[in-house]
Symmetry: C2
Subunit: 214 residues, 2 copies
């Protein structure tokens, strides 16, 4: 019977179910406390099948990191429409980022907390994703500067530093927003957009950036 059941569902589908269960378990219990028994039970499969498909706890965790990293970068890229003006592109990117991290809190916990806390190999997986996002944001800021005909141009090093600052701010705020009851993705995105676009000086002077209607 078990063999028949296994055959009825394509391997790719069953593997995604295992990854769903693994992300949830790693995200909520932490890498150390999560057991393969828990994950198999949550996925509704036998433990040997998890090992057969994903090989080991480490390989399963790595597969989780890769899938969640890919989903997050895809969500941010999909959120940004190139024809919009610079401030709107930044807003759309931030909104896409916070919406994704709010909807997938376990995935974000895997990427931002778990993957970085349990050894250099896992941390390196996240660093690769982060580099991709920093490159994307660097381009976004450089485009904004070009649109604004900044004279003199912002130096490349300044743009790179601003991108690092913005990504670090977004990571920190997403973790805080997910841990703070009552903070929506839209509020977190608006807080960071105001900070990033208007600056604290602008906020203190009452010059906030206004998001477009939802």
């Amino acid at each position: 019977m078990g063999a028949v059941k296994t055959k009825r569902m394509p391997r790719a589908v069953r593997e995604q179910q295992m990854l769903d269960a693994a992300v949830q378990t790693f995200g909520q219990r932490g890498y150390m406390a999560a057991s393969m028994d828990d994950i198999a039970e949550l996925a509704g499969v036998s433990k040997p099948l998890v090992y057969l498909y994903l090989n080991s706890k480490d390989d399963l965790f790595t597969a989780c990191i890769r899938r969640e990293a890919k989903a997050l970068t895809a969500a941010v890229r999909a959120g940004v429409h190139p024809e919009l003006p610079a401030d709107r592109r930044l807003w759309e990117g931030l909104l896409a980022f916070f919406t994704h991290t709010a909807r997938h809190p376990d995935g974000w916990s895997v990427l931002h907390l778990q993957a970085r806390t349990h050894g250099e190999a896992f941390a390196a997986e996240v660093t690769a994703m982060r580099t991709e996002i920093v490159t994307f944001v660097t381009q976004l800021i450089a485009d904004a500067a070009r649109e604004a005909h900044r004279d003199p141009d912002l130096p490349d090093k300044e743009v790179a530093g601003l991108a690092e600052a913005l990504v670090g701010a977004a990571e920190s705020l997403a973790t805080w927003a997910n841990a703070t009851p009552g903070v929506t993705a839209r509020q977190a995105a608006a807080t960071l957009m105001n900070f990033a676009w208007a600056g604290l000086g602008g906020l203190m002077a009452g010059r906030a950036w206004s998001p477009p209607p939802a």
Copy 2:
């Protein structure tokens, strides 16, 4: 001879030398690759003496995290003079932070990379320091809002989010600055001050915040 040498130097002084050697070794080679042999040799003491004073590699690493965390928070607090206006207080705080992380790159690596990558117990030590810094920055932003007689006041949750964003930006930028040749502490602090105070919108419009003369 060895025993006489050991007696001539007070325990507290010798312990600091061991911690200096340990921070350097952990910061440059990473927690896993660092050996107690390396650390003892760099400190100019025997390995048994390191174990006698600091008990184990884990305890030594924890002592490093605590010392570096204390030094960093003390440096930031000492940099901020309460009588200055809000933008100057923020500038002084950022300059103190980036000056300290640039002067102590191994200490920053221990705090920001190594301690967070090698297990939950070490990560919790860093979280305690981070909470202290976020609280300090939250107060700084709340004071700035009060000084500016913001009406309506910035809501507490907004201030808390802004502090999280600013601290995340600073962590990210310090790591980038230490890894990027030719970026000084003053430049990194100026980049973040411009980002945090003038915002990208201000920068694009040519409204930068100008640091006071060095």
